[in-house]
Amino acid sequence: MSVELLTAVLFGCILIAFALGVQVGLALGGIAMLVGYFTWGDAVFNVVPTTLEDNFFNFILLSIPLYIYMGQLLTRSGVGEAMFSASQAVIGRVRGSLAISVIIVCSLIGAMVGIIGAGIMTSGSIALKPMLERGYDKRLALGVIMAGGGLGILIPPSVPMIMYSAVTQNSVGRLFVAAIVPALLAVLMFIAYIVISCRLNPERAPLMTEEEQNMTGRQRLKRLRDGGLGLLLIVAVLGSIMAGIATPTESGAIGVIGVIGAVLLAVIYRRFKPSLLRVAGVETTLLVAVAMWIIIGASVFSNFHLLMGIQGLVARFTADLGLPPWGVILLMQGIMLLLGFIIDEFIIVLMCAPIFTPIAVSLGYDPVWFGILMILNIEIAIQTPPYGFALFYLKGIAPPGVTMLDIYRSITPFVLIKLAVLMLCIVFPELVLWLPDRLMGPG
C-alpha cells in the first residue's frame, strides 16, 4: 500500500472511531495496530514496547504530573481562588477583568513550563473554577485557558525551541529572545479581544459580585495580601528556575512544596486539611493517566505512520511544487497545521525543522524567524479540530457536561488571534528579528 493510500485509510478509520466516541488514546493505538496488522503483519506490534519506554522514561514529560499537582493544590487550598480575588479587588471594575488576570497568570505559568500539556493543565486547574463560579461564559473561560496555557512553548524556556535550535544549528538564546515580541503581541491581542468581546456581550463576563463591590478598604487589603501569597509562590517557582536551583521540569516540585508550605503557614486560608494532599493526588492521577494514555496511543499511531514513511511524503510534496518563495513558506505552514492533526509538538519539530529550514534559508529567509513561525504554528496546529493534543488536555480538566463541540467553539476566536499573530510575523519579520538584532547584534 502506498503511504498516500495508507494515510487516507488511517484517517478514515480515525474519523469513524472518533465518531463512535472511542477514547482518544485507545482509538489511535488500536487503529494503528489494526491497520498495521493488515498491511505489515504482527511484527508491527513491536512498536508498542519501545513507544512505552520512550514516553514513560521521558524526563521532560515529568513536568506534567508535577505542575498539575501544583495546580490542584493551589485550587483546593483556596490559594488559586485568592489570587484571582485579589486581582478582582484591583481591576474588578473592568468587564472581563478575571479573564484578563487569567491570561496574565497563564503567561507567568507559561514562563515556567516548557511544554504544552503542562501549561494547559496547570492553568486549567487553577483558573477555570474561579471564572465559572463568577458566572463567566463557559466558552470564554475555556478559550482563555487554552489561549494562555498554550503560551508555555512560546514564552521561554521552551522545549520545542531547544529542539529546533539543535536540529538546525541556531542559537537557542536568540530564539528565546526572538519569541518575546510575538508572545507579548499574542498576550495583548488576547486581552484586547476579551475587553472588546465583553463590552459587546456583557453577559459573557459579569462584573464583580455585590460582595466584591461593597468591600471596605480593609477587606480589600486582606484580599490583596492573600492573593499576593499565591503570586509570591509563582514568583518563587520562576525564581528557582532563574537562580539555577531547579530545571524547568523540576521546578514543579518546588511549586508543590511551596504550596504545601504556604498553606501550612498561612492559617489565613483556613482550608488546609491533610486529606487535601490525597484528594489532589487522586485528581492528578486521573489527569496524568488520561494524558499518558493519549500520549501512548498517539505515539504508537505516529510511530507506525513514520515507520511507513509519511516523512518522505512530506519532503517530496514540498520540494516538487515550483512555488514563489512566500508561497513555499505558506505551504510549509499549511503542512505543519495539517500535521498537528496527528502528531505532537516535539515530532513536528523533529520532522519539519530539518526538512523545511534549509529550504527556507536557501530562499533567503532567516532561520530564527522561521523557527518562531514554526513554534507559533505548532501552537495553532495542536489545538485545531478534530484532533489536537491540546483539545484533549483541555477537555480533561473541563467540568463534566462540557462537550467537545463546546471546546471547539470556545477556542475558535483565540485560534484566529494566534493565526493573526502568525500572519503578522510572516508579513513583518521585524516583529521577530528586531529584538534579538537589537540585543545580540545581527545574526
Binding site: E53, I60, G114, T247, L307
Partner: protein, 312 residues
C-alpha cells in the same frame, strides 16, 4: 529474484551532517546489490527513539540499526566498554587493531548474537570532551562541580571529585544557562556545537574524556540469516566503506565545529600538568576496574584492552 526491504534506524536528526553518512551507507548497499536490498532510512525520532533502536532491531521492527551503546547499557552492559571507557586512546589505528586483531570482534559478535542481533561493523566517532562554565586550571578545579555526565563518564567525574548530574539532553542548555549544572559532556564536539552550549558555558577541557567512540551497525538476526551469502558480503563491504567515511568526515567536521565554537567565544582551559594527566589516567583506571567487575563479557574486553596499545 527476491528483494529485501529494510528499515534502518540511526541516531541523527534528518538534515544533520552525520545523517548524510548513514544515508550514503544505505544508498551504497542499494547500488552494490543492484536494488535487491532496498533501505528506508529513519532518522532520530522517526518511529523509533534513540533508546529504542536496539529493541527495535531485536524485535525486527527495523532490520538494521546504528546504536549508541550507553543508551542501552541496561541491556548490553558490555556496550559501555565497547564504545570506549574514559581514558582510552584516540589513535584510530590502535583502536582498529583492538577490534580486528586483538580479539574484541569475536567476543562482541558472540555477545550481540546472544541478543538476537548480528554485529556487522564498528565505526569510530570523535572524542568526548567536557565543557564547563569556569576555566579548569588544575584538575582539583573539578572538585564540587556539578557535571551532566551519564553512566561511565559520570563515574569518572565522581573519581575526580565532581558530582555527576542526570538531566535530559533538552535540559542541558537551560541548566548551564541558569547554573543548575556547571558543566556537561557532549557525545562529541559537534554535539556541543549543535546544542549551542557555548552560548552558556565557554571552557573546554583539553583532555578528551574518551578518545573516540566505537559504535556498531547491527542487523536483526532473522533478517541477516535470510540474506543470501553474496548480499551478506555486500552489506559487510558497504559497512567497511561506511566506517571509512565516518572517520574521514569526522576529522573535517570536528575542526569545523571547533572553529564555529571558537568564533562564538569558546576557550580551552590551560594545558594540564603532568600530575594532572596522571590523576586523570588513575581515575580512568578505577572506572575500568569497576566495569570489569560488572559482567563477564566486560571483564574479557577490559582484560584485552589493558594488554593492548589502546590503553595508552
Amino acid at each position: 529474484e527476491q528483494t529485501f526491504n529494510w528499515r534502518f534506524s540511526n541516531l541523527y536528526s534528518r538534515g544533520t551532517a552525520y545523517a548524510e553518512v548513514y544515508e550514503n551507507f544505505a544508498r551504497n548497499i542499494e547500488t552494490m546489490s543492484n536494488g535487491r536490498i532496498r533501505i528506508q532510512v529513519l532518522y532520530a525520532g522517526e518511529g523509533v527513539g534513540q533508546t529504542g533502536v536496539l529493541g527495535a532491531v531485536k524485535s525486527g521492527l527495523v532490520q538494521m540499526g546504528a546504536i549508541f551503546q550507553p543508551a542501552h547499557s541496561g541491556e548490553i552492559p558490555f556496550g559501555v566498554v565497547e564504545i570506549g571507557l574514559p581514558g582510552t586512546t584516540d589513535d584510530a589505528t590502535k583502536l582498529s587493531a583492538l577490534f580486528h586483531e586483538q580479539g574484541w570482534q569475536p567476543i562482541l559478535e558472540q555477545a550481540y548474537n546472544q541478543q538476537g542481533v548480528e554485529w556487522i561493523e564498528t565505526y569510530f566517532q570523535p572524542a568526548v570532551y567536557v565543557l564547563t562554565n569556569k576555566p579548569i586550571r588544575s584538575i582539583d578545579d573539578f572538585k564540587g562541580l556539578k557535571i551532566r555526565a551519564p553512566g561511565a563518564y559520570g563515574k569518572f567525574f565522581r573519581e575526580l571529585g565532581a558530582s555527576p548530574v542526570s538531566l535530559a539532553w533538552n535540559e542541558i542548555y537551560t541548566s548551564l544557562a541558569t547554573g543548575v549544572i556547571d558543566g556537561s559532556i557532549g557525545s562529541n564536539l559537534i554535539d556541543h556545537r549543535d546544542g549551542n552550549h557555548v552560548e552558556v558555558a565557554k571552557y573546554m577541557y583539553p583532555l578528551p574524556v574518551a578518545g573516540a567512540q566505537a559504535m556498531p551497525i547491527i542487523v536483526n538476526k532473522k533478517a541477516w540469516d535470510s540474506l543470501p551469502e553474496d548480499l551478506k558480503a555486500i552489506v559487510k563491504t558497504a559497512g567497511a566503506r561506511h566506517a571509512q567515511e565516518q572517520l574521514d568526515k569526522s576529522t573535517v567536521w570536528v575542526s569545523q565545529a571547533v572553529a564555529d565554537m571558537e568564533a562564538k567565544g569558546l576557550q580551552w582551559s590551560p594545558e594540564p600538568s603532568e600530575a594532572d594527566r596522571q590523576a586523570w589516567r588513575a581515575a580512568a583506571r578505577k572506572v575500568w576496574n569497576d566495569y570489569a567487575k560488572g559482567d563477564k563479557i566486560s571483564a574479557e574486553l577490559v582484560k584485552i584492552l589493558e594488554a593492548s596499545g589502546a590503553a595508552h
